[in-house]
């Protein structure tokens, strides 16, 4: 099960909307997943997720302690590059699932 975190500043508008869209992308790709919301200020310390999607760019200050990959979901809000985002999300998700299966996670 792919564990995702979607983070934004306030945890209201963007997390709700981006989480829904991320979920739809993964459902279409038949990737089982669970999504938890978070605030951007919290993501540095998250340890129990496989992938973090943030709405907006993030500085180097937002490094995650467990080296969980962080990708920007801004494309889902602006519409610019949303297809590329969907492709990247699915290919990363599949790579993570593969790694888990072969015990490399």
């Amino acid at each position: 099960m792919l564990r995702l975190v979607v983070a934004c500043g306030g945890g209201i508008f963007t997390t709700s909307v981006v989480s829904e869209q991320v979920s739809e992308i993964l459902k279409k790709a038949r990737i089982q997943h669970v999504i938890n919301p978070a605030k951007i200020t919290e993501i540095a310390n998250i340890t129990d997720a496989d992938l973090i999607v943030v709405t907006g760019k993030f500085g180097t200050a937002t490094r995650n302690v467990a080296n969980i990959p962080i990708i920007s979901g801004l494309a889902l809000l602006t519409g610019v590059g949303s297809e590329e985002f969907a492709e990247e999300l699915v290919s990363r998700a599949r790579a993570i699932e593969e790694a888990k299966k072969s015990g490399n996670a």
Binding site: C8, G9, F13, S16, V17, G56, K57, L77, T78, G79
Partner: protein, 143 residues
Amino acid sequence: MGPLNVATDVEALSVLARRMVELGYVKSTYPEAVIARERVFPTGLPTKEFGVAVPHCDVVHVEIPTIALAKLARPVEFGLMGDDGTKVLVQLVIMLAIKDPETQIDVLKRIALMIRDPDMLKRISSAADSEEVIRVLREMLDC
């Protein structure tokens, strides 16, 4: 009411927010809260058409869930969502007073879809008056 003629993001937020207080949609704490939040977590989005800002703040300041929309007479700089210092020239401000994100998720999704749709944005920016803007919004939001 014609396009809003302001020079800064704070002015734009202030005018919209104060109007919402007057109408009883939000508490008197809302204007300060939405301006403060925008400073820390800006909401400028560079869509395919023109910059759109989606300011909002904590649900505790909201009485009645509301969307306030303002076309800006001249583009105003907002911070890019994600806070890395980049600015977005915004022409449309969609202020969201959300009370319960879970039950209001459908409206939020439709707003997001609208922002991603250059045709919808063009229709709003070329609308002749507020009635037309409201018609376009209602059509998109199905309400």
